[in-house]
């Protein structure tokens, strides 16, 4: 996968308290400044609203994966018991739906869980050996980061973003430049 389309120059603001950070995001967005990315050590409640992220469709995908499992299990067992190898169990019906329920349920859960997790990995671009772009090492520890794409900003705008971060309570503001093709 090529990263040539990714920007390489960034301004990174770091906060140490999530509530200050959330207020900062609201104010910065209010000024019409575009936030490139946001990194936090844990899921901060209210972050997606503050950033104006669209709701994820992952759970909808999960429903369809689950429905696939249900259909597959029911139709397979029906085919086996009625068409492919019908067995007479003491005159009982060939199509014993109640005893299909446990397996149908398990297959629904299995398909929903695997389908959703794999979709999650693909959409989040997560795989073993992926080298992520680390804007600051402490974002998985104790810092909440906002990343701005410096390539889209003029020098004056960069200075404005930096000073805005500082007035909004950032504990550190810095430039971050990645080498061409470094990380994802």
């Amino acid at each position: 996968m090529s990263n040539t389309t990714l920007p390489n120059k960034f301004v990174v603001g770091l906060w140490d308290h999530e509530e200050v950070y959330l207020h900062a995001i609201e104010h910065i967005r209010h000024k019409g400044i575009e936030i490139y990315d946001s990194l936090t050590p844990f899921p901060v409640h209210g972050l997606e609203d503050a950033l104006g992220l669209k709701e994820t469709r992952l759970h909808t995908a999960g429903f369809f994966f689950g429905a696939t499992g249900t259909t597959l299990a029911l139709s397979f067992m029906t085919w086996v018991m009625t068409t492919n190898y019908p067995i007479d169990f003491g005159g009982k019906p060939y199509w014993p739906v109640p005893s299909f329920i446990p397996i149908t349920f398990e297959m629904t859960v299995l398909f929903a869980a695997w389908g959703m997790t794999l979709t999650y990995l693909v959409r989040n671009k997560l795989w073993p050996g992926r080298v992520p772009r680390i804007y600051d090492k402490r974002t998985t520890d104790d810092r909440f980061a906002l990343v701005f794409n410096a390539e889209k900003l003029t020098d004056a705008q960069i200075a404005e973003v930096k000073s805005l971060c500082q007035t909004e309570g950032a504990v550190e503001v810095k430039d971050k430049v990645f080498a061409e093709g470094e990380g994802l």
Partner: protein, 477 residues
Amino acid sequence: MHAYESEFREPLINGLDKNYTKITDDLVAPTERNSAAWWIATLLTGAGALFFVFCLGWTVWFGIGTWGLNKTIGWAWDITNFVWWIGIGHAGTLISAILLLFRQRYRTGINRAAEAMTIFAVICAGMFPVFHMGRVWDAPFIFPLPNTRGPLWVNFNSPLLWDVFAISTYFSVSILFWYSGLMPDFGTIRDRSKGKLRKWIYNILAFGWHGSAKQWQRFESLSLVLAGLSTPLVLSVHTIVSFDFATSVIPGWHTTIFPPYFVAGAIFSGFAMVETLMIIVRKLFKLEDYITINHIESMNKIIVLTGSIVGIAYITEMFIAWYSGYLYEQFAFYNRALGKYFWAYAWMMSCNVLSPQLYWIKSMRRNIYVTFILSIFVNIGMWFERFVIIVTSLADDFLVSSWAYFSPTWVDWGIYLGSISVFLFLFLLFCRFFPVIAIAEVKSIFRTSSEVAKAERAKAEGAAHGGFVLKGALNKD
């Protein structure tokens, strides 16, 4: 921003020196230091695990005849151990899924280790039915695989087959749940590791996680839906395990109370095993601030609840056996309590029903030594419960001439004790290389449920009320 929490609720993260940095340091520390005790324990349990493999090899080579089974008692320690391990494997998903849906914050301190425990327990559990088949190499045919014998399919009416689906689904979904939660924490370990190799390994384990807002958003959606799926799943698994018995026509097994009774028992034994392990882990890894007495008390409340449910189930079974007027059922239950296995029944009753009643007393619920000893009692009691159900119901058959007694052989002992070694061995590896406590989740409750947050709020409140600080806010005994 954060949900309001009563000032009188005890903190879940103790210590006024805590902040995000300190939490990371404390929780990653166990993966960053070597200890002689860990090596000794790992080598010992590793040797035990090898003995387990040896005993299984012995079984495969010489056949099931090396076990103490006989014609009358065709299920004994193997299935006892299977159900026991599956039961233990219930706490993990219960803690992660059901407590997540019920918004119980105390789950954050114990969910990771409990989920790991679940996975290792299910691995141990799976060994027993698979090797009980005798011809292990035919094991894949428990799944409905296309074959050249007909095609002859598996019997979709059989609870044994439902069990295959339930347990394999449970195992794989538990792994997904556990691992998706681990990725962010592996990212944390990666970003603070010094060595190049260590960084590389933890980056692979983290799947390249870096914690962007979109990743977290999807993460939360995934964990919520997995929790919603796992909650009925965890209940279905032990229900189906109980169907193995309940749908048979053996007196003592053929009872409709089994599904809820088995599920309650599974939660009961699972929590007991979590306590046994976590009491040791919190001490050895100095995690007392994160797995507090408050956590232990919460678990003990669940233990007294589920223990009492199990107790009511035992008594109900007895009553119904008498009330049914069905001679064989009455005979089976008479034998259970007063027959040749009366000692197993006595163990079961005293460990499972009587001993947890101590937890009605608050000081007992909050006593670590009492909790540790009782958790072992519960583990023993729940093993005996399965033994009582399985062996005593089979031993005195319909025909007097086939009445029998089960005695385990050294192979039975070896496989049973060996499976405990395998379990502990895997758990020790987990403790050394994986974060035992879910770092990101603990951080997410820091602003509401830590001692620091409570002290800060009490201070703010005090300032608002003219210097008066609510006494309960700083209270933790």
